[in-house]
């Protein structure tokens, strides 16, 4: 019996020739991705326990992302001290404010994550890193321990293989596919398993698409998601790193818990309605819901594909007077590219607010929703309270559907909206 890519990665990083599903092993991750906001507490916690050095500081990569720029004197003070603290620990990969992006995006852009790597970190949406064929389960607070010991424990997971074929129809984006698949598989199937994506559709699916697919997996409890590395992966990374790429995939006779096949031609725009990300329905079922805020951003949907899609809707149109629309590119690189393409001008002309990259609204600390507010957008999750008040409702959608709602002032099937042509 062959091995899945996840098994191969766990075997290599645990110093074993092979591992079996269900075994509990201790691995040494190749990279630990972390964020500026948690590091001061981690460093303090370690110091209180007499730990003043990290085992592999060169493997740690730190990003400013959750609150950029600082919104309080306390955060500002924390950020002021951090560069010195990292220097003392020998952590030299630090992308500070202005050189930053949401960690899961920027770490890929900077070529730190390669196919076949084991990467971990505190933030749950680190599963995004599977886009290049890395295994990236989140550790949450355990990351502090992994930084000190250079280790993490893992139960060897089963893998669900997801085979995609075909081409998505107009108006359908990565988010529709990603959100519908987690809804279709459900939390019971995904729990503790790795979702492995592959199939003929991927020759035409770029890194933006792959990031979104892997990003949402965590929201149904999957351990990780990854796309098997291919020519698209190699071409993307060759522009960003000189490292030799290990293009290992699962064996042909690897054992999967389930093989799931899906044609992308069968999709339509989908919306995840409150109160959970797997409550996914066709957009037509929630059409007419009035919205107060529209959000394009987050590690699930503020990439160039999303900004282009939003600008495509907003060009020559205006955001509805009742609606506040926020556009927040996921990284500085995306922000710069959006500027070069003239997308930012479209947003501002339409009456949208454009902010610098941060987790912002999806972390609930920027533009917080208040009781009774309705928001539609590309944030990561719609659990109550995620973006402010627990009395607010959050709908998740692709960037086209969200932008159409911004113009119409209510959720609207983009296909209906464009057919009407008069808005």
């Amino acid at each position: 019996m062959g091995n899945t890519l996840a098994q191969k990665i766990i075997a290599r990083t645990s110093g074993r020739s092979s591992v079996s599903v269900g075994e509990v092993v201790i691995c040494e991750p190749d990279v630990i991705e972390t964020i500026d906001l948690v590091m001061p507490h981690y460093i303090k916690t370690l110091a209180e326990h007499g730990v003043h050095r990290l085992r592999y500081p060169e493997r740690i990569v730190v990003f400013a992302d959750h609150e950029v720029p600082s919104q309080s004197p306390a955060t500002a003070m924390m950020k002021k001290r951090l560069p010195r603290q990292l220097e003392e620990l020998g952590v030299r990969h630090f992308y500070s404010e202005g050189r930053h992006g949401i960690s899961h995006q920027a770490i890929i852009e900077h070529g730190h994550v390669l196919p076949g790597m084991l990467v971990t970190g505190p933030d749950t949406h680190i599963t995004t890193l599977g886009c290049v064929g890395a295994l990236s389960p989140p550790l949450n607070y355990e990351a502090v321990q992994a930084m000190a010991t250079g280790e993490m424990w893992l139960r060897v997971p089963e893998t669900i293989r997801i085979e995609l074929s075909g081409v998505p129809p107009p108006g359908v984006m990565s988010r529709d596919v990603a959100q519908w698949i987690i809804h279709r598989l459900g939390a019971d199937l995904c729990d503790y398993r790795v979702l492995e994506y592959g199939g003929p559709a991927f020759a035409a699916l770029d890194m933006d698409f792959r990031m979104t697919l892997c990003n949402v997996a965590i929201d149904v409890g999957a351990k990780a998601a990854l796309v098997e590395p291919d020519e698209v992966t190699a071409a993307y990374l060759r522009a960003r790193t000189t490292a030799v790429l290990d293009m290992t995939r699962s064996d042909a006779d690897a054992e999967y818990a389930l093989v799931f096949r899906q044609d992308l031609a069968d999709f339509e725009p989908m919306v995840a309605a409150p109160p959970s990300p797997d409550n996914v329905v066709p957009v037509s079922q929630v059409a007419g819901v009035k919205v107060d805020q529209v959000y394009i951003g987050s590690c699930a949907g503020g990439r160039l594909e999303d900004l282009r899609a939003a600008a495509g809707v907003l060009r020559g149109r205006k955001v509805h007077p009742r609606v506040r629309m926020l556009v927040i590119p996921t990284s500085q690189e995306i922000f710069a590219n959006a500027a070069r393409e003239g997308l930012l001008e479209v947003f501002v002309d339409a009456g949208a607010i454009v902010n610098s990259p941060s987790c912002g609204p999806c972390y609930g600390n920027l533009a917080p929703l208040v009781e009774g507010d309705v928001c539609i957008g590309t944030g990561t999750t719609n659990s109550p309270g995620r973006m402010g008040s627990t009395g607010a409702s959050i709908y998740l959608s692709n960037a086209i559907t969200a932008s159409v709602a911004a113009v119409a002032g209510e959720i609207c099937d983009p296909r209906v909206f464009f057919a009407r042509g008069d808005l």
Binding site: Y141, E142, Y192, I218, G221, S383, P384
Partner: protein
């Protein structure tokens, strides 16, 4: 030696009790609060603000499917540690289960049938090492999977930080 034999009063909850704004108001995550004793006072506050004060150390949380679901921020589980309770849940997904173990809270999940087996107010005994549970109020017994060994080591070390210190000692002894 860790005491794996618990006897306590049951507090029963339904399915899909979320971590954020269920176990713990998410404001404590945003404010980066890590003090177990502070967090303990706010456990379950969104469900019933008076609940935390009525839960005693040694009591046992019995929960339905997908206990602690959503983002497994550590604050909710540190709150449970501060309360001094253990958890028996029909199921928990990976992140919350890891966070619970890492907070040093004894937990058995999956515990199939636990919701039918014990209700709020029952007195139960739990052997976390072997997975045997007895309901003294209803005079019934059940067996479920025990806590796997590495998770038991982490709980025994008082949580992830204690386990980390043990590993660092072992690595230092090995000279790496």
């Amino acid at each position: 030696m860790t005491n794996w034999l618990w006897k306590g009063r049951v507090w029963a909850f339904g399915d899909a009790l979320p971590n954020d704004n269920g176990l713990m108001p998410i404001s404590f995550t945003r404010a980066q609060v890590y003090d177990e004793q502070v967090l303990a006072k706010h456990c379950f506050e969104d469900l019933d603000p008076s609940l935390a004060a009525r839960i005693q150390p040694g009591d046992i949380i019995v929960a339905g499917k997908n206990f602690g679901c959503g983002n497994p921020h550590t604050q909710g589980f540190l709150g449970l540690k501060g309360l001094g309770v253990a958890v028996l849940a029909e199921s928990m997904s990976r992140g919350p289960l890891r966070a619970c173990v890492n907070a040093g809270v004894p937990v058995l999940a999956p515990a199939p049938g636990i919701c039918a087996f014990a209700q709020t107010g029952d007195i139960v005994t739990v052997d976390f090492e072997h997975g045997s549970i007895e309901n003294l109020t209803q005079n019934s017994k059940t067996e479920i999977p025990a806590l796997p060994v590495i998770m038991r080591d982490i709980v025994a070390a008082g949580g992830g930080i204690g386990f980390m210190l043990e590993r660092l000692q072992a690595l230092a002894a090995r000279g790496s």
